[in-house]
Symmetry: C2
Subunit: 216 residues, 2 copies
DNA sequence: ACCTGAACACCGTTCAAGT
DNA sequence: ACCTGAACACCGTTCAAGT
């Protein structure tokens, strides 16, 4: 099978999944393909172009909202999709955000999100909704993927126990760790959905419609 | 003046402000201090420790909410402070989030935020508020600092003009660029505050209090 | 105790050479 | 047309040597 841009990007994604973004070098990606580093330059102009491709590879997996379905359901599906994709590729968010020019897949994704919002919101309000949803999702995922453990697997209490010893002089954090996280009452998924619903509720007040499409 | 951990971190911040995080190397930081690279190792154990110090240097500048003032005013001040600090040091957010163990300054900041929220919310609701505010602020700043231009200086229309040509097949983004951004009606600061207020309004409904401390 | 220079194993990338 | 090896200017870091 000959080398190609697509194969190189897929190989880079595998290397990043395995060892983090820092482990992606022209030499490690080449090794993944049983080829010399210099061979890659015949298919990608340089490492920056490879990273652009990697960002696009991630964005292509984001769910694109449809316009013939209720906006709230679509925004929820979209939010969960981003969280899922970026959780399984923790390097993805940094990759997407650090590229100075958005790739095609990301632009198409954003266009689809905006299209769904425009089915119920006037332009300016749709822009507000777009901005707040994007910020919330990215921000939540940003902290989640950088946690020193894998969330969503019941490790919340372990984390709390790890952290408590260092919490002299931090009374409120200590309280949260002992009374909430250590008791198993805390779940990142529930937290994500609660925040999302608060935002969607706030937005819905500006549609003039009733709360017909709630998700909970 | 002798070398010290603090001087090294301050020099690293200057290098990062000037040339981005990628330009921070043991050799460039040493040169900033007119010293050899190896001298740094007598004051920081390795580059990772230097980056930990850099993250702490940023977090130390975040405004810490007080408990004897209204929570809404404090949360707004805190949000604006984070945006201001992270805008003037665009490498700061990535720095803070990529450290696997939070530094002391960041923990103290978080403790202060939680303390303010606990003056009006029960623990679980305070945790929700903490999570959603952090996610929103980080997410908004994340996209803002990675824009290919400096926002808040009226460059919004320039951006729109740059982007429009490539927008074949992206009808909704094109519409937003031409009808909203290019007309000068769009402002990142206004957008940030609108989203923040929507979230604070949503949270306020859970305090049982009236909207007495509004900021607009 | 603090600073340094050479050295080692890595980077991204250029260039001339192979097929 | 595609792949390669040597080379260059960089990295972080170790270690022995200087003061």
């Amino acid at each position: 099978m000959p080398l190609s841009r697509a194969r190189i990007i897929a190989a880079a994604a595998r290397v990043a999944d395995r060892g983090g973004l820092d482990s992606v070098s022209m030499r490690t990606v080449a090794k993944e393909l049983d080829v010399e580093a210099m061979s890659l330059y015949h298919h990608v102009t340089n490492k920056d172009a490879l990273l652009d491709g990697l960002a696009d590879w991630v964005a292509a997996q984001f769910y694109r909202p449809k316009t013939d379905v209720g906006w709230r359901v679509e925004m929820t599906k979209r939010a969960n999709s981003l969280r899922a994709v970026l959780s399984s590729h923790p390097w993805g968010l940094g990759m997407i955000e650090s590229r100075s020019n958005a790739g095609d897949a990301l632009l198409r994704h954003h266009d689809a999100v905006l299209g769904s919002l425009l089915t119920v919101f006037p332009l300016r309000m749709a822009a507000h909704a777009f901005s707040i949803l994007d910020a919330y999702i990215y921000g939540f995922v940003l902290t989640e993927v950088n946690l020193p453990f894998a969330p969503g697997e019941g490790h919340e209490n372990e984390m709390a126990e790890q952290l408590v010893p260092d919490m002299a002089g931090l009374p409120h954090l200590r309280r949260m760790a002992t009374e909430l996280m250590a008791t198993g009452e805390y779940s990142f998924t529930a937290e994500f959905e609660a925040g999302l619903d608060l935002i969607l509720d706030g937005l819905e007040r500006h549609t003039g419609g009733s709360r017909s499409e709630g998700t909970s």
